[in-house]
Amino acid sequence: MKSYLLPKTQLASWLSRVQADRTLYAPVADADGVLDWREVSDPAQIVLPPGVPDLPVKKLFFPTSETMLQYAYRADKAAVVATPPPATPFAVFGVRPCDALAQQVADLVFLGDLPDPYYQARRDAGTIIAVNCTEALPECFCASLNDCLTEAPGADVLLTPLDDAYLVAALTHKGEDLLAATAGDLPEATEADLARQAEVAAATAAAQTRKIDMEGVTELVRAAYGDEDFWKEHAEACVGCGVCTFLCPTCTCFDVRDDAISGRGQRFRCWDTCQFADFSQEASGHDARAHQWQKQRNRICHKFWYSVDRTGVLSCVGCGRCLRGCASHSDIAATIEDLKKQPVTPDE
């Protein structure tokens, strides 16, 4: 696939060409200076913070809440109208490689045997333009888990900052189409440029201060499942909010509810989390994971074990947001390291 060299001074004009045929999203500050993934009206608004932005990009594909169908009913009849999302083409710029990979992990959940049409429509309409990291935040540990810095799986286009230019590489057919339409007279990248990309990725990986040996992590977590004391100790400080999961780029749990007044209503889904009190509570009142340590154990087991069993991949990409956002600084990587020190207990 083709790669180009985009002088940094021409980034805005290239993004304007990207914007010509599609809506562009990127990290943009609101009037209070808070960055989030917002529609870009002028590329000058875009702010790329060092490392991952505070908020993951997943909400562009899986909104915090979305209407799935609307209905009206009377005693003798009812009408139901499905409301699939508009398939307006969009591109999202500034996604970090770990978040792009996370979207691919989410695809395995939403687009498996029974594809989710709401997610699918947004995913089909969206093109992910990733920008490689040149800085590691103290919480980053993707290099211990995956090769997102070098391969950027999940991204359609990858920009890697070189000296005064970006190496712009198409990674998928979607990315190739986007570049074919927008590259204009950009020069093609040379072999030397491509070699530099690997150097940048290697330097960023080396700058990560958290290096965790993840060898055999799934077996480790599985073996520790029954070790209640371990989980209790590691969840004692957990306050049971949803920050770790809401900030997690691969967490995809949702709740489906109805909101109806006077015979008219909507069925919607909204983000939910295994950390909330009512997540695993049954109609009888019984809660299979009533204690916070069970909820935290579920989170860790899901990331490193259940996910591997179901989809073949880990669902932790090493972005570090759960640690950064946690009120009590619960450290998922430190939990794994602590697990290695545990004597092996038999399965429950």
């Binding site: 209070d32 400080a237 909010c241 009190a277 009120a327």
Partner: protein
């Protein structure tokens, strides 16, 4: 604060070995100095991990929720704001004084990690301490000094009560309050807005809320068994995430906290989308103070005004 930390560890070892308390709730450092977690010590050896640093952010009073008398007395490390939360909970009969042993820490203020990251590369930070008007940051390259005004958390910059008002043991000398008169320029700016501007400001903020309820769950004063925001039957609030519903949630919470919030900044700090929760709660606290001369967490005998009913109240029974 090495001496203070030594003193803390010593006291905690004593309290546990003498059986005065069954557990000590304090802080320990994680893999980086600015990742401090709550620490639960049940043996004298566990106390070796206890630390006191300007990153001991979390209000530990939250962990007293559901504490049963049969669990025995628990020792708790409290800064000025945390001690006020204990007093406020005592006033609301959520706790009895003999359930807790309070290890008071006169507090110079907490360092805001986001503000620190603007000044230095976080990964290089080895230690940080607050000394009066300065914050001293140690990196491999040496020590850098910054004005405390620039690096402290907002609630600490504006703190009126840095010294715990209720303690069993005070660790270290009392400190001078940074803001004895409760000046709050940000609150003044908010109050100077027209109602329409203020509404726009808050609605813009609330539009960002993702309803993770971290504000609720970190709050020492949010102890409802089921928060009104997530109650199913009856459902007070739609679970849809939108500006209107978010506003209902946040304003509902602000009303519940009016005259009860102790301004520890926990919600402000943990909010992943930077809602101005400190400011909102400071405004409510000021309203209650002006209307009822009540400040939360100063007197364990005075329940919050909005939680009381007095038949002798001159406004009671006048058909309002």
């Amino acid at each position: 604060m090495p001496n203070q930390t030594d003193q803390l560890r010593q006291s905690c070892r004593r309290l546990l070995s003498e059986g005065t308390v069954t557990k000590v709730i304090g802080y320990r450092e994680g893999r980086a100095p600015y990742h401090v977690s709550p620490h639960f010590a049940t043996t004298p050896e566990d106390c070796d991990a206890l630390v006191l640093t300007p990153f001991c952010t979390q209000n530990l009073v939250r962990y007293l929720r559901g504490l049963k008398p049969e669990e025995g007395k628990v020792a708790l490390v409290v800064k000025g704001c945390d001690a006020r939360a204990v007093t406020a909970l005592l006033a609301e009969h959520q706790l009895t004084r003999d359930q807790v042993y309070l290890l008071g820490v006169p507090c110079e203020g907490l360092v805001d990690v986001d503000k620190l990251a603007q000044k230095v590369r976080l990964a290089e930070v080895q230690a940080v301490r607050v000394e009066g008007q300065m914050v001293l940051v140690t990196t491999a390259a040496g020590e850098q000094r910054f004005p405390a005004e620039d690096l402290l958390e907002d609630c600490c910059r504006l703190c009126q009560y840095p010294n715990p008002l209720v303690v069993d043991e005070m660790l270290g000398e009392e400190v001078t309050p940074r803001n004895p008169d409760g000046e709050d320029a940000e609150l003044a700016r908010l109050e100077a807005m027209s109602p329409a501007e203020r509404q726009e400001y808050f609605r813009r903020a609330f539009s960002r809320c993702v309803r993770c309820y971290a504000c609720v769950r970190t709050c020492p004063m949010c102890y409802c068994t089921t928060c009104f925001a997530v109650q199913n039957k009856p459902q007070w609030l739609p679970r849809t995430v939108g500006t209107d519903e978010n506003e209902m949630f946040q304003l509902g919470r602000a009303m519940h906290l009016a005259g009860r919030c102790v301004q520890c900044g926990g919600c402000d700090r943990v909010c992943p989308v930077n809602l101005p929760l400190r400011l909102l709660n400071a405004k409510m606290a000021k309203e209650v103070q002006e209307a009822y001369a009540h400040v939360s967490g100063l007197d364990a005998e005075k329940p919050p005004p909005l939680a009381t009913f007095d038949s002798q109240d001159r406004d009671a029974g006048e058909g309002h």
